[in-house]
Structure formats: C-alpha cells, structure tokens
C-alpha cells in the first residue's frame, strides 16, 4: 500500500473506534477501541503488518513526540498543581515501586504454579 493509503486505513480504523465509543453504553476511549480493532484485523490477517508498516513504524518510533503539545498545555494547569508538587512527586514515585513489586510477585506466583501443574501432569 502506498503511504497515503496507509494513513487513510489507520485514520479509518480510528474513526471506527470513535464511532463505536459513541454508541457504547459506558465510556470507553475510541483510540483504545481502535487499537483493539487493528489487533483483531492483524490476528485475522485481514491486514498484514507489512501493508501498513511505513506509517505505523513512523508513529511508533516517534510516539513520544505526539504528546508534547498536550504537555505544553501544562502552562494552563500549572497554577492548579503548583501547591501540590511534592505530594504529586511522592505519589508517582511510591506507586511505581509498589506496582513493580506487586506485578513481579504476582507473575512469579503464576509461573511457579504453572510449572508445578506441568510437573504433576507429566508425573501422572
């Protein structure tokens, strides 16, 4: 597919995601629905990764760049957060550590459980 078609296909998937988001009875972001639609299209081989790789490659390689303008708008919201900078910093720091250890421990347990089950199956 040429690059314009690739852009059109991805935009169409995004619009489809946003349309579904509008009719859903509960709030669910359209962009995430679009991500799930594209994943299903790839799984069912309706779209092959090679067909859209010029545009998706560009998007994925520069992902961080696309949310810079959203970050620049901090100019507007800084007054709201300026008295809470330390607590916000602590929330970010501590929750990251907690999430890291909880996730690690959870996966560790699942892996150990899977191995055990695998062994008993083999033994039987």
């Amino acid at each position: 597919m040429n690059i314009c078609m690739q852009i059109a296909v991805l935009f169409f998937i995004c619009l489809l995601g946003q349309s579904i988001s509008l009719v859903l009875p509960f709030p669910f972001p359209g962009n995430i629905i679009a991500m799930m639609i594209l994943f299903i299209l790839l799984l069912t081989r309706v779209i092959k990764p090679g067909m859209i790789q010029d545009f998706t490659g560009f998007l994925l390689a520069n992902m961080a760049f696309f949310f810079v303008p959203a970050g620049v708008s901090i100019l507007e919201s800084y007054p709201i957060m300026k008295d809470s900078l330390l607590p916000i910093f602590l929330v970010c720091l501590i929750s990251t550590v907690i999430t890291f250890f909880v996730t690690f421990a959870t996966v560790r347990l699942v892996v150990i459980w899977q191995r055990k089950r695998h062994h008993t199956k083999k033994g039987a």
Partner: protein, 226 residues
C-alpha cells in the same frame, strides 16, 4: 514577522526542533533525567514566552501533532502483534500480571492522593499515570482529569521506573525473565520496556506486551472510578 511566528507551521517546527535537540542531548549525556519529551515541553514553553506566543496560538499547530495521537495509539496493536508468539506462550502470566498490576497501581495512587489530601481533579489526573501516555491521556479525559498533569505524571513515572527498577532488580537478584519484563512494562510503560530490552529479548517482549494489556485493564478498571 508576527504572522510567521503565529503560523501553525512555526509551532510544529519548534516542537520538532526541541524534540530533536532533546533526543540528541539524551544520547550524548545518557542521562534518563534529560528526557526528550520533558526537554521539548520546556523548550517550546521557553520559545513561547520569549516570542510572546499564546497557548491558544501554539495549539493551532499543536492540535495537528495532537491529532496523530489517535493513530499512534492504534499502532500499539502492531507492537503487540509482533510479540504474538511470546504472548501465546505466556498468556496467563501476562493477563494476570498486568491486571493485578493495574489494580495495584490505581489503588495505591488513589489511597495516597487521599492520604495527602490532593484535590479531586488532581487525583483523577494521576489515576491512569502508570500506563503509556497516549492511553493515560484518554483515560484522564474520560475521568474528568487535567490532561497536561497526566502527561507530566506519566512521563515522570516512566523516568522513575527507568532509574529505580534496575536498581531493585540487581539488589534483589530478580532473574526470572517473564516476571521482570511484565513488572517493568506494567509499572513504567515504554521507558520500563526500553530498560527491559537492555536486560534481554524475552524481558523486552514481555514488557512490550504489558504496555498494551496494562493499558486496556486500566481503561476497564477506571470505569469504577467514574
């Protein structure tokens, strides 16, 4: 002159310029604190202040860049699809790990915000900050949070994870690849994944998958905070 400075092309050009300088500095100094996104945000704000460009004017060009967040988020599906084999082999650890991780992130954020007595709208902005920024932005909008605060917190969380997690991994001799990868991707999204890739291939694949799944689970769990 004013017309040139206030052209949407000018906003886009300075945003790209700042990003490239930020990337170059980050590579040169190899310092995770010198993050290209944070640098670019400061760079753009500095130029706006110097030339007297209002946020409203900047956003005419900014919204064009912002628009590409939608297909960029959708493109995360390609990232997940590329790790399909690793996903098939580790379906249960990925699903259980990222869902429990997402719950623990949101619960710990919520409780700490209450503890520190943070305002409601700041709490809502911080709730989704553990997942990849484009998804966090969407959740924040949905919850009624303040998007720029979410962006800052999500980028900052990524940097924290990048600096702290490798220290824990060494200190506690965390070796099991699947657990390390999923934990890194779930707690500090893309930045955590870049660390995981440095440790090993399986770690990187697991972390990459966790970005998408932790994102989806956080979207689902955030429905309970509405």
């Amino acid at each position: 002159m004013r017309e040139i400075i206030e052209s949407p092309l000018f906003s886009i050009a300075i945003t790209i310029l700042g990003y490239e300088i930020g990337k170059w500095l980050n590579k040169k100094t190899n310092n995770p604190l010198l993050n290209p996104i944070l640098f670019d945000i400061c760079f753009v704000i500095l130029i706006m202040k110097l030339l007297g460009i209002s946020l409203e004017t900047y956003n005419i060009g900014g919204s064009v860049i912002n628009m590409l967040l939608a297909p960029a988020t959708a493109a995360l599906a390609v990232l997940m699809y590329n790790q399909l084999d690793a996903l098939k082999k580790n379906m249960l650890p990925v699903l259980i790990g990222t869902s429990v991780g997402a719950i623990s992130a949101m619960t710990s954020i919520f409780l700490m915000c209450k503890l520190f007595g943070l305002e409601e709208n700041i709490t809502l902005s911080l709730l989704p900050k553990s997942v990849t920024t484009p998804i966090a932005i969407e959740i924040s909008k949905q919850l009624g949070g303040i998007v720029p605060i979410t962006v800052a917190a999500a980028v900052f969380t990524g940097i924290m994870g990048m600096i702290i997690c490798p220290i824990f991994i060494k200190l506690f001799r965390m070796k099991e690849s699947v657990s390390v990868g999923i934990a890194l991707g779930t707690c500090s999204h893309v930045s955590g994944t870049s660390e995981a890739v440095k440790i090993g291939e399986l770690e990187g694949a697991m972390a990459g998958l966790s970005i998408g799944f932790a994102g989806i689970f956080t979207v689902i769990f955030s429905l309970f905070f509405l």
